[in-house]
Amino acid sequence: MSEHAHGHHRNYLRIYFILLGLLVVSIVGPMAEIRIVTLITAFGVAIVKAYMVAKNFMHLDVEKPIIQWLLGIGLVLMLILFGGLAPDVMKDKGHRWEKDARFHQSTDPGHHDGAAGHGEKSDHGTSGSGH
């Protein structure tokens, strides 16, 4: 483990202060309440911060490439997951389907059966859904 002697000449304090600076940016930026600025300062800066922590504190830059690949694959999988889910979960209305607005009004599951908008159809009973 002694061969893992990198990082001796890293100035951790300097990186720490840069991170704090970025933290301030990510707080001040969104106060402008401009969507694009918020996106860049809040999420763009978060990515930069995460990258700096990974590179400098976790020493990922001098780690074996296989580790970088592994972590990268994990992140890519999450992008795939996002891409696969987005057409269904992220939308209110898709190809041949739409979310039923009436469902949003009811917050109490107790009267969900009838009050979920199908009250007018509930005349045929709940067929013994005995709860």
């Binding site: 041949r96 389907w97 979310k99 039923d100 469902f103 709940t126 067929s127 859904s129």
Partner: protein, 236 residues
């Protein structure tokens, strides 16, 4: 293939069956070819005294092609199947031919409710006909359905139509079918929905135009109300 057990009663049932036949032929060929090769090799190279095994890594040209060529042919078969499958899929699920009527199908634990327009042809009006566990449709008419669920997932499955679509609480899913054959058929729930899942059956009645008109006339809520009114007046 499937029509041997289940009749074709919708405009796209034949397409699905054709696709199934195509897949059966293609994968059947590969399955039988692979099994024959497999059992022949087991027999041909069974242990025999004094016969040494051949030292092959799989890189030798004369043996490699026995794997490589079938491998490419499988890819070609895949392409045919993909094209056929997507065509059928697009026809059933993606395109929406103009409707003669729109019905609403609601699944709930453990019954199907069907609402269809009365004589005015519009849904959500006073003359709607609502039925439970019985769906009456007219042959050769294109229907759109609005599929909903009130509690848990259900799946609207009509085997003779080759049609299946999950119903999801909180969503309205639109689809279509066009019955082509008169008769009485099963509607099943194909998504487990609790202890009554096994009894969540409904009956589909595909009727001729006259039968359907007659059924509509008998079951129209407005006609019933009028009949009730006229009954009471005549009896007085």
């Amino acid at each position: 293939m499937i029509e041997r057990w289940v009749q074709q009663a919708s405009s796209f049932a034949g397409d699905v069956d054709g696709l199934v036949l195509l897949v059966t032929v293609l994968v059947g060929f590969w399955f039988i070819a692979a099994e024959i090769m497999f059992f022949w090799l087991i027999f041909r190279f069974r242990k025999r005294e004094g016969v040494a095994t051949q030292y092959l890594s799989g890189k030798e040209k004369h043996v490699k092609n026995w794997v490589n060529i079938p491998h490419y042919l499988v890819l070609v078969c895949d392409v045919f199947i993909i094209i056929a499958a997507v065509q059928v899929w697009v026809k059933i699920k993606q395109t929406l031919p103009p409707a003669d009527a729109t019905i609403r199908v609601v699944g709930q634990q453990w019954a199907w409710t069907f609402t269809q327009p009365g004589p005015d042809g519009l849904l959500d009006t006073a003359d709607d006909i609502r039925t439970s566990d019985d769906l009456h449709v007219e042959v050769d008419k294109t229907y759109h359905f609005k599929l909903e669920a009130t509690d848990v997932l259900h799946s609207f499955s009509v085997p003779v139509f080759r049609l299946k679509q999950d119903s999801v609480p909180g969503r309205t899913i639109t689809g279509w079918f066009k019955p082509t054959k008169a008769g009485d058929f099963d509607i099943q729930c194909a998504e487990i929905c609790g202890i009554g899942h096994g009894i969540m059956a409904a009956r589909l009645h595909v009727e001729t135009a006259e039968q359907h008109q007659e059924w509509m006339a008998q079951n129209s809520p407005i006609a019933e109300a009028e009949a009730a009114v006229s009954d009471s007046t005549t009896s007085e």
